[in-house]
């Protein structure tokens, strides 16, 4: 095992898969000469050359659509969006082409591509650059959606995403790139569609994904000090969703809190909360709680932006609420 950053884990996954399969190529803004806006593609241009590491103009719709066509015709593009905020410009190509091509052609064409980059709130960026757009993608049939929160999960799942024959949306986080964690020295992959229990517990299930995992784990530690034993369920894959792992946990704890840094209306977290409410009705001893961001655009001021988002305190309060403490 080595301790590496989330950024390095992603870089290793891309490097290993480009080395393994010549059809894999990387394209996006600043991925080549600049080594990536967040340095995920550091050194890849030097290693693989300009044919396989393509610096694009700032035209998300154009280069994302180009990746769809390349994938239909047999290549395996990794399309980096500098942030998912800019990916909104490319939504037509994702929703109407990447996700639908197999369907519209009656199964004749696959679109084996990965779209990856930072999603979700960061810091001091105001409202256009600090927002979680997860539900834009989970809403659309024909896409897989992955949101890993640790270097180990990021590397193993990105390798699986690149090998997958479907369009995969891979959600990272600007504030997560410097997070560190243990990653095996030997090659490994993690299957898409499997949740991971990050902390075992008896009293309450806290279900989350992506960046909030860190504050959920901190909240669980704080709750432990107060004698509350929380179980942390990290979804890792959102679509397909490992519902079984969620329900097994809730069957054991009888209480559930869902934490999602998106806005609450029609969010992936609200969908999970609905699933648990419906499918675990007989197991639940309290209504499911959802901890989300406030339904407001992100302010620049730091105190205000922190107030908008889920926090250790908000998660602890929700856990206590479902425990009637």
């Amino acid at each position: 095992m080595s301790v590496i950053t989330y950024r390095e884990a992603l870089r290793q996954a891309i490097d290993e898969e480009m080395s393994r399969d010549e059809r894999v190529f990387l394209l996006g803004e600043e991925v080549g000469q600049y080594n990536g806006a967040y340095k995920v593609s550091m050194g890849l241009l030097e290693k693989y050359g300009e044919e396989r590491v393509k610096d694009t103009p700032i035209t998300e719709l154009g280069f994302t659509g180009l990746a769809v066509g390349a994938a239909m015709a047999g290549l395996r593009p990794i399309c980096e969006w500098m942030t998912f905020n800019f990916g909104i410009l490319a939504l037509d190509q994702v929703v109407n082409n990447a996700a639908k091509m197999r369907h519209m052609s009656g199964g004749q064409f696959n679109v084996p591509m990965v779209i990856r980059g930072p999603n979700g709130p960061a810091e001091f960026l105001s409202s256009q650059h600090s927002q979680s757009l997860t539900a834009y993608f989970t809403h659309v049939p024909g896409l897989k959606v992955i949101a890993p929160a640790t270097p180990y999960d990021a590397k193993g799942l990105l390798k699986s995403a690149i090998r997958d024959d479907n369009p995969v949306i891979f959600l990272e986080g600007e504030l997560m790139y410097a997070w560190k964690g243990e990653v095996p020295d030997q090659e490994y992959t993690i299957p898409i569609g499997e949740a991971d229990i990050k902390r075992k517990g008896r009293d309450v299930s806290i279900v989350t994904f992506s960046k909030p995992l860190k504050i959920v784990e901190e909240a669980a530690e704080e709750l432990a000090k107060e004698g509350i034993d929380a179980e942390v369920v990290d979804l890792r894959s959102l679509k397909p969703l490992d519902e079984k792992s969620i329900y097994s946990s809730v069957a054991k704890t009888n209480r559930c809190v869902v934490v999602d840094e998106s806005w609450p209306v029609n969010s992936f977290g609200s969908y999970v909360a609905w699933l648990v409410s419906k499918n675990c009705f007989d197991d639940l001893d309290a209504p499911v709680e959802l901890v989300s961001s406030e339904d407001v655009p992100m302010p620049y001021n730091h105190s205000l932006e922190l107030a908008v988002q889920p926090s250790v305190e908000k998660i602890m309060a929700a856990a206590k609420k479902v425990l009637y403490i």
Partner: protein, 334 residues
């Protein structure tokens, strides 16, 4: 009124073409015309639903351009007015008509309909329902050709309505900076749905848009199939040999409305009748007859063959099964 004039047919030296090649062009245009007439008829009988955009009047464009391709290594992508391109790629009229009927035997298993004709084997990559949505995708197919060092070319069709989309402009820029083998073909049929192109365009010469990206571009007339064929041939050749993009604006005309629900009140009867006089099928027949390359018997033979193919296609579509309800969960993820 449109400024379009038919080029003097005598400028094309028909004698340099093989008789069999000319017959094939005529056969394809007649097939497309009769297929579309049949589709319109079936739509009237409610056998076909939804949006159905007919290609009648524009036959010379897809027939003349696809005739310059080798679909073992070349590719075709187009918008929603795609029946003509599909037939010219060699797709079976049966699988097209069955798709229009929504049957499981259709090329897209009844999931695509009129706007989504696909055939992996014939290199027909759709059939796209979003105006301009296919343009970046086609650019990506050209990227694959270059990436793998192949010798193919992509023909990417769209209309005068699509040329103002960002997708078009972003694609041309990408194709130029990466020197991709794709020919963008603007089928200017004068109307983006019901709006005359001159009312919504900064220029009436779309070739200027290609030139602004340093891409070889030209504007040609599209009612004479041989003029279309000659117009595309050198662009296909340079795309293949030098791996470079091109833009070809082909001025054409659709006889029917934008879709089946459109009575086309935005144009005069006189304009439509003027175009029908320079009908692409009549022009080719006239040219061939002048050089005694075809007679009425042969024309009748081609007409009968097309009629038979279309009748058989309808019969096949009628008799095919509805897709089982369970198929709604299929063809989504691999």
């Amino acid at each position: 009124m449109s400024k379009t004039q038919t080029k003097d047919a005598s400028k094309i030296d028909i004698k340099k073409y093989d008789k069999s090649f000319l017959e094939k062009l005529l056969e394809q245009m007649i097939l497309v015309r009769r297929f579309e007439e049949k589709a319109g008829q079936m739509y009237g009988m409610k056998k076909i639903g939804g949006f159905c955009h007919l290609y009648i009047g524009q036959e010379a464009v897809s027939t003349g351009t696809i005739a310059a391709l080798d679909l073992k290594s070349d590719y075709v992508l187009t918008g929603y007015r795609d029946h003509g391109h599909a037939l010219n790629c060699g797709m079976d009229p049966k699988s097209l008509m069955a798709e229009l009927f929504g049957k499981v035997t259709g090329c897209s298993r009844g999931k695509g309909g009129s706007m989504h004709m696909f055939d992996a084997e014939k290199h027909m990559l759709g059939g796209n329902g979003i105006v301009g949505g296919q343009i970046p995708v086609a650019t990506g197919v050209a990227f694959k050709i270059k990436y793998l060092g192949e010798k193919g070319v992509v023909l990417c069709y769209f209309g005068d309505g699509a040329i103002h989309q960002g997708a078009f402009h972003e694609s041309l820029n990408l194709a130029k900076i990466w020197q991709l083998p794709v020919v963008y073909i603007c089928e200017n049929n004068m109307f983006g749905m019901g709006t005359h192109f001159e009312r919504v365009s900064s220029t009436s010469d779309f070739a200027a848009m290609g030139k602004s990206y340093n891409i070889q571009s030209k504007q040609i007339e599209g009612m004479d199939v041989l003029e279309v064929y000659e117009g595309i041939s050198d662009l296909v050749k340079s795309a293949r040999e030098k791996s470079e993009p091109a833009l070809l604006e082909i001025k054409t005309y659709r006889y029917k409305g934008h879709s089946m629900s459109d009575p086309a009140k935005y144009r005069t009867k006189e304009e439509l009748e003027a175009y029908k006089k320079k009908d692409p099928i009549l022009i080719l027949i006239h040219q061939m007859k002048e050089e005694a390359l075809i007679d009425d018997n042969k024309i009748e033979e081609l007409e009968n063959k097309a009629k038979l193919l279309c009748d058989e296609a309808v019969e096949y579509a009628e008799q095919s099964e509805e897709p089982p309800i369970g198929t709604i969960y299929e063809d989504i993820l691999v």
